[in-house]
């Protein structure tokens, strides 16, 4: 539309993109001077700096990150691997991560592993090919072999894990204390008067779910509650999974009076089954979930759940990356930052006021 004609318009229209060279030509100086001027190199006079910046703006100069990255070896790109995005937890973590990294001039390349080990491997492959300056990842539930992460370490770029990590990878990790979270949940349920607490658990081979199971078991013991095998039901933590497990629990000769689900979706499935069977929640059976997915506060009765400080995790991960990126001498080693989770008590587990 408005084709502003200025004294450089010929250059503007001819060349596709303005480069540092074009600026140099206009000012009759060398590209190196221009580069230095744009980076505020101390040895460049204020006069040239100003002139360069003015022309740069007029020519609508946009630095070519690719060229810069190639030469300097820094792409200013951070690769992020997310198991899945259609989970509130992950999307809010990523959101905050991105924000923090953007502030420092990094862009985020974002890939989904979709809980598939193969995809995770390919993700790493492509991220490395794209010459990212670092990788931030959360393992899929399937992942038990970590050799592909060695590649990242071999490249000597920062690797930060969050939420789902593993000690064996031996790098920075940020997440919550799942073991302790289970304690918090059980403590609360006991305080509400529960005597038989069931656990709809995730698969034990996933570290975080295993920790939740261990925490649950130890917490029961702490309260001198008997541990009953049939009250621990491992499975995938989908709504359907939760429904199945809840049905099994209702069939027991002696029903539990509290259910702790290791995931909100499973908790929701359980709640549906409870309501369908006219079981009063929380009076007859109290219910607690895990993750604070938005719907937990929206259903009736609202589901008590564990809040994992999504935002903080995202920010901390970003900060940890920036720290590692700065310190060239850092050699990766296991370094866990564990946040205490927070129980959000809602109607589904409030037997007493």
């Amino acid at each position: 539309m408005l084709k502003r004609l200025n004294k450089y318009s010929n250059i503007l229209n001819m060349k596709k993109k303005t480069t540092i060279k074009d600026i140099a030509n206009v000012l009759k100086i060398t590209p190196s001077a221009v580069s230095r001027a744009l980076h505020n190199h101390p040895r460049i006079s204020d006069k040239t700096k100003e002139a360069v910046k003015k022309v740069a703006k007029e020519l609508e100069y946009q630095p070519n990150q690719l060229a810069s990255a190639l030469r300097s070896g820094k792409s200013k790109l951070v690769g992020v691997i997310v198991p899945r995005t259609n989970s509130y937890f992950f999307s809010s973590v990523v959101e905050n991560m991105e924000e923090e990294l953007n502030k420092k001039g990094y862009n985020v390349i974002f890939t989904q592993s979709n809980e598939s080990y193969d995809k995770e491997c390919r993700n790493i492959e492509t991220l490395l090919q794209t010459q990212v300056d670092g990788i931030i990842a959360s393992l899929t539930n399937e992942t038990v072999d970590f050799s592909h992460y060695e590649k990242i370490k071999a490249k000597e770029i920062p690797l930060i894990l969050y939420d789902r990590g593993d000690n064996d990878i031996g790098v920075d990790y940020i997440g919550i204390d799942d073991y302790k979270s289970s304690h918090i949940v059980v403590d609360h349920m006991v305080a509400q008067g529960c005597k038989r607490i069931a656990h709809i658990a995730g698969y034990r081979h996933t570290r975080i779910y295993n920790n939740r199971i261990r925490g649950y078991i130890d917490a029961l013991e702490k309260h001198n509650l008997p541990l009953e095998k049939e009250l621990i039901l491992e499975g995938d933590l989908t709504v359907e999974g939760g429904r199945q497990k809840m049905k099994e629990l209702l069939k027991l000769p002696k029903r539990p009076d509290g259910v702790y689900a290791a995931g909100d979706y499973a908790a929701l499935g359980a709640l549906q089954v409870l309501l369908e069977n006219n079981v009063k929640v929380p009076e007859e059976i109290a219910l607690v979930g895990f993750s604070n997915e938005p719907f937990t506060s929206l259903v009736t009765p609202a589901i008590s759940t564990i809040y994992q400080h999504n935002e903080e995790i995202g920010k901390l991960v970003a900060k940890q990356f920036l720290k590692r990126e700065k310190d060239k001498t850092w050699k990766p080693k296991l370094n866990k930052i564990i946040l205490d989770a927070e129980l959000i008590v809602r109607a589904s587990s409030k037997k007493k006021n």
Copy 2:
């Protein structure tokens, strides 16, 4: 741990990264031959190709995308702008987009505008700096000025809009027919016996919400239902927003017998208020939402809603990009692909069986 010693181990350990040059040195050929061999250039003999690929694997060669991108002018990166990720609609769109693009060797750089016009501008800036091969975007609710999109068009890289677009930008657009969707909703509600249908609407200045309002109005007319000003309530479509608007509706001397909310969160808020006031849903007031957020099927009663073919939109957007990317001669022009939305009827609007 296991440091496999092979005949190239010296090279492996010395150099940080294997380049095309290293392969060339090993085989006593030139880098260009290696490059061509890796790309299956017809002029390279099968013998050399094999040899090159073998050595490449042994040296754990990883192409440097940056260098390749710089030389060839193709970064194999697609920039995606999402208004927000913590919405099921967007995350499933993005998920499918990514999958489709990955198949064709493209990586996705992903940025969130967080519904902020400023952020959107900065997003575009950084994506262009990163030399993406194209941009896929959905406008924020704030966006009414489109000059920043001209920059993308000026670079002559494909620009595809989805869900929230604008005719004035004059490019490819993929989304659903909001106007028609409202018709579908109203038709359904009328069929269920509703005579006074209220509309909890989004702000009219957003194209899609305006279209939903227009569709609602015209559909009422079609069914010879009187249009009543107080039954259209514009607002932000949050849970809280929905609650407010529903409360207002309940205060009316003559209550509606159906509520069509232009967003699921608002519908949920409305539902909460209805239940709190012991209004029977759908018997006294039927309820329909928009977007098919997961929770709509999870609450009781389940909320009827409009399903926007999230997966298909994601895939179509990706395909459209790939098409434009292939055809160098294409000049951007307005080209809309409109999908029919689908009403998912659930308990909240089923007055009749």
